[in-house]
Amino acid sequence: MTPPVAATTRPHDPHQLGRGHKHGEPHGHATGHGEGGPASKRISTAYGFWIFLLSDFIIFAGFFAAYAVLRDNSAGGPVIRDIVDPARVAWQTALLLLSSFVAGLGSLAAARKKLWLTEAALLVTGLLGAGFLLLEVTEFAQLVREGAGPDRSAFLSSFFALVGCHGLHVSVGLLWLGTMMAQIWAKGFRADIQRRLLCFNLFWHALDIIWVAIFTMVYLMGTLA
């Protein structure tokens, strides 16, 4: 005798913890707030990653607060106005924004399981991100060469910590991006690979949001000070 199974495509929920029935069906025992069965794995995975990104924003808030507090403590060394190169910041901003845009187009290609389009979009996303990173490394190297490294003053410590933390995130994102290209190539558009790609895209777009705050608060406001 087979036990009666609910006529849904969702997995059976023996403890009725979740939202054990769909709309239009009679209410079961689980008549709490969330009806309709447990959320899909795609939703809970991306939601968890969204919580992580928000906690990452809070980490950045700490670095931003340190920078805001220490900005004027230049110990007789260079101030922010001396080290800003507006043209480079404009290029960095353009590269990262375009990178985010192409990543979005890649997510559309991935949803339609277009292998070559997805790989190409990821490659362009990565190249634009690498271009951004190259400009940042150039800036840091130049500053250190001029004796304006993170050990020069409290202002420069907080500057390198904040901008460097963002650059570190971009570097990790590039590693992740390469891994995703390999995984899509080797494993195809499985549901778990699609979830990873969704999380990667969230991560990459979030980095651009942080960069908006950095180029406004550090670089553009720095040219005013």
Binding site: A39, S40, R42, W50, L54, A90, G104, L108
Partner: protein, 136 residues
């Protein structure tokens, strides 16, 4: 209705009540998806250009420029959230927006709280020379 289209990952992406952050509610047409990203790119690019132009032109009263830059930055973050991360105010996004609201609250507390208390401290602090004489 979308449950039995034979398109498996669409089923996973669509739920009666919720949507994953980063997913769009309607992603059936490729054109609509591309249009969304293009609109986001144009708006974000325009706001970025406006930020850089505000510094160079004299259309804004100089003491108001920081406020203008902050307003432009917040607007651009909103554009990114809506057009790139697809965080909307729709009923299927309630959880995502609530989490975001809490994140913004904590970010605001950390940032504004630090600046407030440190400005207050440095206002209260004695200059170093005076302090040395005081403790001598």
């Amino acid at each position: 209705m979308s449950e039995h289209t034979g398109h498996h990952e669409r089923d996973e992406a669509t739920d009666d009540r919720d949507i994953a952050p980063g997913d769009e509610a309607e992603q059936d047409s490729l054109g609509a998806g591309v249009t969304g990203y293009v609109v986001g790119l144009v708006l974000a690019g325009g706001l970025t250009a406006a930020s850089f132009l505000v510094l160079r032109s004299s259309i804004i009263w100089p003491p108001a420029i920081p406020a203008a830059l902050i307003a432009l930055a917040i607007a651009q973050m909103g554009v990114h959230l809506v057009f790139f991360l697809h965080i909307t105010t729709g009923p299927d996004n309630t959880n995502n927006v609530l989490a975001l609201a809490f994140g913004v609250l904590v970010v605001g507390l950390v940032l504004l709280g630090s600046m407030w208390i440190m400005a207050h401290l440095s206002h209260q602090a004695m200059p170093m020379g005076e302090a040395m004489q005081h403790f001598r």
